[in-house]
């Protein structure tokens, strides 16, 4: 009796994952971006022609398709991890999710950039470990310790006062920004 595994292997054998899915992905993204940019307003059909050509050109390059197939599952994995993190934060919050702001958003962007580099690593032959110079790698523990100490000092000492004159540390602000609140 055929099961889902058979279906999966059948699709794999026909080249569904190596050709059809990358083509649909590239077509959809290119078409979406061209539609958003709205470069050819009077000839919207050109958007679909360019998107089809881009899709075909990408699937003709097996190396690029391999890179995509290595990269996209990792991004999906990262999305699940981040979602779980937000899910845990959400337990302690009241009301709807308001997003990150300020320093928390800045940290999120930096972490996202590092995660994207990590996800791209194997396909492009680079890793975060190789980017960091050897001199820094050997004293990584010391640097990390100083960094943590610096952040802790900054969180406690920096900050400001509320309009009512109550003092607030940077840590208080960061907690608010994790919940999407603007600093009072």
């Amino acid at each position: 009796m055929a099961d889902f595994y058979d279906l999966f292997f059948l699709l794999q054998d026909t080249g569904f994952y190596e050709l059809v899915l990358p083509f649909i992905l590239v077509f959809a993204i290119t078409y979406g971006v061209l539609h958003k940019v709205n470069l050819f307003r009077k000839n919207p059909g050109i958007n679909s022609i360019i998107a089809i050509i881009m899709g075909l050109l990408v699937v003709s390059q097996f190396q690029i398709v391999d890179r995509l197939n290595l990269f996209i599952p990792k991004v999906g994995f990262l999305l699940v991890i981040i979602l779980m993190f937000l899910f845990l934060i959400g337990i302690f919050q009241k009301g709807d999710y308001e997003g990150f702001t300020g320093v928390a958003y800045f940290i999120a962007v930096i972490i996202s950039i590092l995660l994207i580099i990590w996800a791209l690593g194997p396909s492009l032959g680079l890793s975060l470990y190789e980017i960091i110079p050897i001199e820094l790698q050997s004293s990584g523990g010391l640097i990390l310790g100083l960094l943590v100490l610096g952040v802790a000092v900054w969180m406690i000492s920096a900050g400001g006062t509320t309009p009512r004159g109550k003092s607030r540390s940077a840590f208080d602000n960061l907690i608010d920004e994790l919940g999407g609140k603007r600093n009072p």
Binding site: E18, F40, I46, V58, F71, E98, G99, L115
Partner: protein, 185 residues
């Protein structure tokens, strides 16, 4: 690639779809779209629409000339998939940071102009690097390799130092003059 769809791709490759048909269609459609949009060659009729026949003819000729030039076709075929890969990477990044944002339209330019500027600069540098990596010089190296080799060999010379000073001076003049104009000076 021995899958049925892979064989189809190989068949199309042997047929010349990727070396002739697709580059021609790409150049033709982009050039036609731009000519129709900009109306460079003038307008005709009461509703003043672009000269479609003339635009189509020019696009057709330029498309054929492009596919007749092997180097250009090779560059297009090498660069465009990498541009798409870069686009997908950027999109993945936007999806990742999108999780951290409120439920609303993504507006990096309005809400985070510095990040927007950073990514515009990154996109520009990346596109230039991708195309330079696809263009080959006469000695077989790519333009990117030529430029990189020049930078690494000339890094400690007077030429490179002068260039850096020039960039710093221009940036400083721009920054100071911009500050004056903003403050009403």
């Amino acid at each position: 690639m021995v899958t049925p769809l892979g064989k189809a791709i190989e068949f199309f490759r042997d047929f010349g779809l990727f070396d002739v048909v697709l580059p021609f269609l790409l150049v033709f459609s982009i050039l036609f779209g731009v000519l129709e949009k900009t109306k460079i060659l003038g307008v005709e009729g009461k509703d003043r629409h672009a000269k479609k026949n003339l635009n189509a003819m020019i696009s057709f000729v330029v498309g054929l000339i492009v596919v007749a030039t092997a180097n250009v076709v090779e560059t297009i075929n090498k660069a465009l998939p990498n541009v798409i890969l870069f686009l997908i990477v950027l999109l993945s990044f936007l999806i990742l940071i999108g999780i951290f944002q409120k439920d609303e339209e993504h507006a990096l330019k309005d809400k985070h102009p510095y990040w927007y500027g950073f990514f515009v600069a990154l996109a520009f540098i990346s596109i230039v690097a991708i195309f330079f990596n696809a263009i080959q010089a006469e000695d077989g190296r790519t333009w990117l390799e030529v430029i990189w080799d020049w930078i690494t060999t000339q890094f400690d010379t007077a030429v490179f130092g002068s260039l850096i000073i020039l960039v710093v001076v221009v940036f400083a003049i721009y920054y100071i003059s911009k500050g004056k104009s903003e403050s009403g000076g």
